[in-house]
Point group: C3
Chain length 431, copies 3
């Protein structure tokens, strides 16, 4: 995952244009299942209009001494996203109105966009801003707006059921690692994991798109299908650091996706649950009234919650292989739970006699406990798996009841299924 992210890092992406299209192609090379969906510029998608295609050939500021600053070719964050073309000479005072910097992070180039209001501007580290010499500056942006299309890619892995688990991430951000190359590379890893299965209980749908306008466009085309099939969805964003885990609740807060994620995070360090009021990525669209998809957000350090957010400091010091892999494990546990069958059912009435199967101690030598806490061990988890599997209690609730990790309950349920004591079952959720 880290290699792929590093490969994608330098590409100058935006909502549209060559950078994001090239990035999509890289994912399509790995997963031919990804098909492109296009939306013509100027087309209406719900309340929005698809913006023109924006491309940049070059952009910089040149001091009268010939010294250049904010070169787009050096770091694509230097240019405000969707800047209009300009070639003008102004003095330093005039220039400052077009510059964005962060005095709280003097070495960071901030990430700024102006998609729907025409302007131009440059982003610069505060330290460099303070060092700008007096004099005249040529501001040069060789950008273009053109008719064409806004694109996104979608992959579907069919399963026995037409009910779907949905994964979404976005790829419109230029050179930043956690927000947002981590999401797409994690999504790709989940796709790889599922492709390795011979058959699948559920159908899985994956989309990579430009944030906000992309998910709105996507929903304008797929809403009916999604409403009839998605049982749980996850918006993956900022999933590559090692600092914390964030569960951003869906609007209603108690969807199957919420249950899944909250339990998949049980037992992990530094887990934060945030209400939907803290939303900020495409879960905003997926959960909006009339859309109402059961989608929650999964992040490590959520957008807006880590200092390097939306600056050039959001790089591979923030995103690590370990961080990405831990995030993958969380999602893997969830899809493995779906694939095991969410509603295991105990097949014997009363407790089964585990002893004759070698699954229980055969000598009863009970000792009083000195505490009111109960001991959680393999045997207690096994007994809990049996007693709570009434066909109404799903694997997520089961892990909670047994006070163990989702991974652990999966292995115990599998063991009991192997002994014929339980049956895995994936009863339908919709209609």
């Amino acid at each position: 995952m880290l290699d792929l992210a590093k490969h994608l890092y330098p590409i100058p992406r935006s909502l549209t244009g060559e950078g994001i299209n090239l990035s999509f192609k890289i994912f399509q090379a790995i997963h031919p299942e990804f098909k492109t969906l296009s939306f013509a510029t100027g087309a209406e998608v719900f309340d929005w209009v698809i913006p023109p295609v924006w491309n940049v050939k070059n952009a910089y500021i040149e001091h009268e001494s010939g010294q250049r600053f904010c070169e787009f070719s050096v770091n694509n964050l230097h240019l405000v996203g969707y800047s209009e073309p300009v070639d003008t000479v102004i003095d330093k005072e005039g220039l400052l109105k077009f510059l964005h910097s962060r005095n709280d992070l003097p070495d960071a180039i901030p990430y700024v966009t102006s998609y729907y209001s025409r302007r131009w501007g440059f982003c610069i580290s505060h330290r460099q801003l303070l060092d700008l010499p007096e004099g005249k500056y040529r501001c040069f942006v060789d950008s273009s707006f053109a008719a064409g299309s806004l694109n996104l890619i979608e992959a579907i892995l069919p399963g026995e059921s037409t009910e779907e688990v949905f994964f979404s991430s976005y790829l419109c951000h230029p050179s930043m690692a956690n927000n947002e190359l981590s999401g797409p590379v994690l999504l790709s890893a989940i796709l790889t994991h599922l492709k390795q299965m011979n058959n699948r209980r559920y159908t899985y749908r994956f989309v990579l798109l430009p944030e906000t306008i992309g998910s709105i466009a996507y929903l304008s085309r797929r809403l009916d299908i999604l409403k009839g099939s998605v049982v749980a969805g996850f918006n993956l964003s900022c999933v590559g650091d090692e600092r914390r885990y964030t569960h951003l609740l869906s609007r209603k807060g108690n969807s199957l996706a919420d249950q899944a994620l909250s339990v998949a995070l049980l037992g992990r360090q530094n887990v934060v649950t945030k209400s939907f009021a803290h939303r900020g990525s495409d879960e905003r669209q997926y959960n909006s009234p009339g859309i109402d998809l059961p989608v929650c957000g999964f992040s490590r350090s959520k957008y807006g919650d880590y200092p390097e957010y939306h600056t050039s400091l959001d790089n591979f010091d923030v995103v690590t292989e370990i961080g990405l892999h831990q995030s993958f494990e969380v999602m893997k546990d969830i899809v493995d739970a779906f694939e095991l069958g969410l509603f295991p059912i105990t097949k014997v009435l009363c407790e089964p006699q585990l002893g004759k199967r070698g699954l229980y101690r055969d000598l009863s030598e009970c000792v009083a406990s000195s505490t009111d806490e109960r001991l959680v061990d393999d045997l207690s988890i096994r007994m809990d798996a049996l007693v709570y599997s009434d066909g109404e209690t799903n694997l997520f609730a089961l892990a909670k009841a047994a006070a163990c990790s989702l991974r652990k309950i999966l292995s115990e349920v599998q063991l009991l299924c192997d002994h014929g004591l339980m049956e895995s079952s994936g009863k339908p959720f919709l209609n």
Copy 2:
């Protein structure tokens, strides 16, 4: 409101008789909508019998020296309510059995009644009681019990819907300000506010009555109508001081009235929520089994919760114009929410593009927060209003979700309706 309360203050009211009837007439002069409902003395209302009409011409205690105490004409609290006529001479020791005082409040004349058990008695400040000279006393009560009627007044302001919001307060207390002239004058102010509207979504019903027997009599006549129309009701009692706000929950605790009041009090200082176990006024009747109206109680310092309660100290040191006005604002926010339409619906799918309407910043320059608290500002409230307005979430829940006051959510929803992004809706509760 304060002037009206002061005007009403000296009138010697009780369940029946000239004082309460005169008080009703004062309200009817302000609001001709108020009609009188009468119940003949001796009539049965549910488990009760309408008591005889009680009037007092004069009452006092006269010491053999000629010095008079407990003169009804000086303060009508001096006479135990519904005292029977008496003219007898007894010594001081005998007198003391007929006197009520409060040694914990030595300057207060307590308020005592004996509506359904014939007796007579006087109320006196403890300080005065201790100073009573030895000797003979003439106890004189020139009161009368007569056939006639117990009255109450009722006003209905019709609206588009026959569903009703109901306000009740009581007017049987003699010279006490918070309990209970504050309730009737607040009720009158709400009535005035609603009359100023050209048309109304809902119907509003207002009653002023003698406490307990009045609401029981009223329910005996109006129960069927009320059960078929009241969607929320408020018993107004002790609403004139500035010390705290009290929400007395309805019996079930989660009625629409409870939602409304709890949210209308959000953000105010010194809010106390009390369970229905703390009931004590007419909400007892409105919530009793088989009656089951969705009525909660609104108070500032609730009856029984402030030291001056049921004494002559409950005067205009306790009740202030500011206190009454703050209470009015709470009720005004609630009726304005009903009138705006409780269930706003967002009319666009996905987030609307607020930028093109000047309702959003057009430059995206996000900065990480150093805290996990989210910032609540105009824009967050606007976005919350849009995303939570799914037609199932009422304005009260909306204010809670947006973490703002009811007043603020009303103005944001109005703004979004004005821009055509939302539609206010008042879907019916009862069918």
Copy 3:
């Protein structure tokens, strides 16, 4: 109860055999209503097989010096339950592998069984173990396994309704007092209490059985009947000490039995509520998926929660007449609530006029409280009983709402029924 427990104490019980059968006969002598249900050894009951009948004539360890240890005739805990016959001579080192002791409780003989795995062994106090002389030992167990039957006893007290309240306890433990002679003797006392009633609203069912295999066998025969009739059930275990009260929640945690027990314990000292995860007795079977009976567990110091548990120290220093009687009072309050009628209904609309019935003070002289706590007294409980009795609120919820004991609400409801203001009602729970 204590005398009966002491009478039963020395009998050497196990799952099967003469000891438990004799014990059953003692209960049948007190309650001829108890009928025997038999299950042939070798028969399948759900996932289990009825074990052979085990009897012991004699068992001991004899040192080469002639000194005997672990004599079964002295204390039946010395022999591991279901030990196979043996007569062998081994040295001390070999012997130690067959001995069980508790170094944390050096004076206790532990209780150990091996029902389903053939072995033999002895239990010994750790102090005695450390003192065993070197040398050869003859290990002698004169036990037998035979075809026959596993037995249990069941009593049914019919009532007007076929809906049942169910009590279960177990009798397979040898000489231990709290676990488990306390449960059977409490069950017997409840039976006696109910037999003294002339007629009963509900049917009551009582079973005494060997733990686990007994309840599984019983369910294999009675499941359909129980599912169609049991509205609340209680597994009685370890109910004879004075240390605490334990409510072990049913699997779903909110059954009628749970409501009943939690409220019956209100106001008592040292009440502990434990989730079903802490289960360990026959409630495991009654609550297992597909069985799903509404059974919770009632204990004082629950099995596993007191140091003397499963040792020879679980004797009449632990179990006392006071402890047993307090447990009886808890269960008596519950059955009396069922018999009074769980759903009282107030028969008048609005508050009744209690004053004319002598049930209310006739002089109204209210005084402000200096605290926000409400005063709970006879009158507040009476008013609460009236206002919350809407036919949907059962006596358990009523006691909670009135903040009083179950016993107190029973007497207030009875009083109000006697005055014709309420009607007791036992509306059906099932279908």
